[in-house]
Amino acid sequence: MNIIVVGLSHKTASIDIREKVAFASNRMERPLRDLVALPDISEGIIVSTCNRVEIYAATHDMAGGIARLKRFIADYHNIPLDVLEPHLYSHHGEAAIRHLFRVASSLDSMVVGEPQVLGQIKSAYGYAAEFKTSGIILNRFLHKAFSVAKRVRTETKIASSAVSVSFAAVELAKKIFGDLTDKTVMLVGAGEMCELAAKYFLNSGVRGVMVANRTFERAERLAEEFDGRAIRFEDLFDQLHKADIILSSTGATHFIIGAKDVEEVIRRRRQKPMFFIDIAVPRDIDPKVNNVDNVYLYDMDDLQQLVASNLEHRVEEARKAEGIVEEEIGRFYSWLSMLEVTPTIVALRSHFEDIRRTELTKTLANWKELPPEDRKRLEVLTQAITNKLLHTPTNLLKMTGQGGRTDLYVDAVRQLFDLETAAPEEGEIGELEE
């Protein structure tokens, strides 16, 4: 039995692709049930957030399973597989384990260290548990991922600092305005980065959003998404004084906001501070705007420089976090392999015990005059023989369980002795580990 993952994320797909393959959280039952109905997929979990869509599954057939999951995502959303394929990644075995551990620990996030992803995975697991599509392997896998994430959070400082551009912008805004709850954000232009940054500001509690865009319809659509207000691009300078934080990302080739404009706006605001964030390349806002009193202007380069200097401080923390992940992968992987080996060992032992008992009973039945103390000796003798015979194969199987070619040995032993093995209960593994 092995773990596989197929999915796409902000690293491989743009927002419009990610939107198309998202699974709605209020309609998880059908896709989950369809997932585990696929041939040779025994357990499955679907993680769907705005930054990633991933399916984790337990299967015996890794290559076939991955192909089936890819087709499943494409078919479910009615997207031709060859369109989706370039955006999909897949991992199996140890790499799949590493992937979930890193995702849950927020090492794979757009904003490294952001805490939301763990909650999202927890709720994804909640659905799988509710509809009984996760079993012994994924249960253990997910719980392990949660504890890894917790370790990373408590043992490293990865979560405690601004590491992304949007996050850095929000942190700066807090140092200018203090409380953001009564502040208004204005989006000028409607780029993707702008949208993302606006989301961060909304999460930090800003009160209102205004959207100005050259095509008014797009502005309206975005405004609706943020529960905000659309304004016409021509009215930009009439409305600018109402905004505290301005996120700009138009496609304009020249500066659309100059120092003179801002001087006038700030006077109209009675010098209440303004924070301009120019995400556009080429820039939308004249750098001289930063010289106006009570106005702060940061462009993409400034923000990235902040993030970079921050990242330097965090490299050590990230390395520590990756170390924790690797350590835990080792532990979980040996459990997973033991999961294969244990029933085989149990079956092998009971197979030998059955033979011994049958033969002993047969012999003793025809040997009535044997005194009880000799019967006991015989019992001990036969037990000693089977134990000696089983000693090496048992040890070997346990060793392969701790890494190595498990399947090969397990299959060989099963075939050599014609064993039938059932899936073990959780408790059994522990007993054998001693």
Binding site: K175, G178, R270, Q271, N294, Y296, Y298, S309
Partner: protein, 279 residues
Amino acid sequence: MNVFLFYISLFFYFAATVTYLVFLFKPKEIIGRAAHWIIASGFISHCAFTVWRYIEAGHTPITNIHESLSFFSLAVVGVFIAFERKYHLFILGSFVTPLALLLILASSLYSSAIPQLSPALKSNWLFVHTSLAFLSYAIFTVAFGAAIMYLIQERFLKKKKLGPLYQKLPSLVILDEINYRCLTFGFPLLTIAIITGAIWAETAWGTYWNWDPKETWSLVTWLIYAALLHGRLTTGWRGRRAALLSIVGFLVLLFTFLGINLLPGESLHSYDRLLGGKY
């Protein structure tokens, strides 16, 4: 006992200053709390010292340079504690307590003998005029500390080079608000102090206004803070400009308080003249 209380207070202020400076480098909640309790203990013993001295002297103990510096320091600490509690801002202490320590240290350099006040000045106006004046001075001292913090933080944000203090300093809006609060409390107090001074002058010396250097410079100080308040209320002056003006205001205030005594020349407010002497 009296002297003992004074030095206990001085010791507490010293310990608090050290702790607040440690807090600047290691901003742990527990260090901030410790600093807060140390300065509060110093405040209590300093209050006890002042009351004791009042009883011993039989008049408000703000009559010579030793007493004035000591009372100034006490008022700074009191006002600071109020602001620290209101804004939960330990780091304000890193900028204000050193000033209070300097004041009490300066005070300790002067003789603590109880002076004999000239009979003309023994009146209730002494209490009202001097305590209000020093209370307003203390409030403007806190404004000065906040203004320095504002300028540091503003420089980080404008230059986009976030130095080590950046994380520890509060937001610009908070610092500006402290500045404004100080102005709205300090300015009326200073106004009343000047008015009561004039009334007292009339009763003691027969004229409301003598154009004595102290009076002139007090007027200059008053005008600076009046301009700042006016600017804030009408055109929304704030931030950097407000911070700079309150620093200028504080420097003029210091000159008004100390400089007059150091300058050669005649002043009705020179402490040696207040005592006994001419009037």
